[in-house]
């Protein structure tokens, strides 16, 4: 069921439509319109539902196979255009980690996005319940109708996945492309990834590609010790941080975040 058909790059026209309806959509989710909004999603899962009559919990997640990442930033760009993300901000981005001293050096890429944690610190601190984890698919969303722009969630996120949208004035971040996913499409970054490094699906379904990848590979999550239970898994990620430069075996580390914030926070 997770092998939702990949569509060719969405055309510009559709971009416009989705961009304008997104806020309405997210707002609507808070109310009674939930059922209507999720109809396509429900249809996509009909097959799985037949297999297991008891309601299985859907948790959308992502596996990022870093071995397949070439650091091309296509996901960053696709995400920027999908949401018209203001200049200087990113919902998804790719970090470069360079380490070692010549001739023993290494470089790896680390695609980043919101982890849609199962224990999201941002949700716990939100004073207006504007950010919440959706029951139906585990996506952590922000309701612009309630957000006051206090930036508490931005500080509470251990992954620096959130930012204050300078245009709207509200907190903003990756939402797994709800508008696409709910129509059976892949998130924009997944859709565009040339190496197939980003794999999206339902972690609650043991038969999904993401679940199989998590089961069969040595996976890691970011900042596991924070207890946030991220739903973005990495295969072959280098977790080296700038602080590791103190270690004699690493010597030099340079992390390029490719964001306005030049350092990881």
């Amino acid at each position: 069921m997770t092998d939702m058909t990949r569509t060719p790059a969405t055309d510009a026209c559709q971009h416009r439509t989705t961009a304008t309806t997104r806020r309405d959509f997210v707002t609507a989710v808070g109310g009674v319109v939930t059922a209507v909004a999720l109809t396509p999603l429900a249809a996509a899962k009909a097959e799985a539902a037949q297999e297991t009559p008891a309601k299985r919990k859907v948790q959308y997640g992502m596996v990022i196979d870093v071995r397949r990442c070439i650091g091309c930033h296509a996901c960053t760009v696709a995400c920027k255009s999908e949401f018209d993300v203001p200049l200087g901000e990113n919902r998804a981005w790719v970090e470069y980690v360079e380490k070692g001293e010549y001739p023993n050096v290494g470089r790896s890429f680390l695609p980043r996005l919101c982890n849609h944690c199962s224990n999201p610190p941002c949700v716990h601190v939100c004073p207006t319940n504007a950010t919440y984890k959706r029951e139906q698919d585990g996506i952590v969303v922000i309701d612009d109708g309630l957000c006051i722009g206090c930036k508490y969630c931005i500080l509470a996120c251990p992954y620096d996945a959130r930012f204050l949208n300078p245009v709207t004035g509200y907190a903003d971040k990756c939402d797994f492309c709800i508008h696409r996913v709910s129509k059976g499409l892949m998130p924009s970054c997944v859709n565009t990834c040339v190496g197939g490094a980003r794999i999206f699906g339902d972690l609650g379904d043991p038969e999904s590609q993401v679940s199989k990848l998590v089961a069969k590979n040595r996976v890691t999550v970011l900042r596991r010790s924070m207890g946030t239970l991220p739903n973005v898994y990495y295969i072959g990620a280098d977790h080296t941080d700038e602080l590791d430069a103190d270690r004699p075996e690493v010597r030099q580390v340079r992390v390029k975040t490719h964001r306005r914030h030049e350092q990881r926070r």
Binding site: H124, A156, G169, R264
Partner: protein, 320 residues
Amino acid sequence: MGHELTWGMPVILYLYLAGVGAGAVTVSASVLLRGGDGKFGGGHFVMARYGALIGPLPVMLGTFLIIFELGRPFRALNLFKLINLSPMNIGSWLLGLFITVSLVYALVFLPSFVPQLKRLDHALDPVRKALAWVNVPLGISVAVYTGVMLGAMPSRPLWNSPILAMLFLISALSTGVAIIILVRALFHHGGKDPEDEHRYHLGAYILTATDVMLIGFELLVIFLFVMFAHLTVGDVKHAVAIILPGGAMASMFWVWVVLVGLLLPALVELVYVVPKLIYHRTFAAPKAVEIAVSVAVLIGGFMLRYIVVIGGQATGPVGL
């Protein structure tokens, strides 16, 4: 440090001003409730009145600052559409309640300035007392919540300490006392009536002695805060290094917060408090000393918020 501040000066000022105001009102209410001279309120009535009248002002100013920091001020009303366990939500309710109660508390002191309203003033005595009973827990809650709000985030290891709220509370009370000392000293034009003068200095003694005690506790809490952070491994140790020798904010912290804000004022205050405390001599600190000491404490309180708020954002979890 190359870090962009998510919470900048408006928030720093708010945390500070809310602390000063909540501290001043808490001290005022405590003084009113525990005042001696046999009669309720007694000779400390004027002291309580200073705190009551000053207190709401910084809290409202700080609140004004953070509401406008949001960009869309009226959005703040969303906070009052629900109650949840976010420290900011609970804090907003407490803050709204505190501003309301402390404003009424300040207003019921006003008739005491007008001799013609003596009967009304007398009738308001129980009202003041009742409001004071509410103000003590409310003031403490507001001061504590500012620390809890910062402490609620594991992603900010410098703040993620249960003792931070305690530190903010003691700092709030200490700066609250300091601002009462300051305003009393500024408004005191001495020497006409010896009875008045005696009362002024007795009040100053009580406030100054309280401040010494609070500063002592604050130094202890800072010691515990720094020591436990330093003795741990990982995130917190790395974060607290920013205020330890070699850290980017170390000199600022030890000079402005510890030396100027705590040690020096405490030493000067002790010089005047000890003779009275131990040898029962008359307490008579010169006006200039009272002003200098209270200003130093107020500066230290601000610098504490400044360094904690910026340091917490400049440091993060270790590793990825």
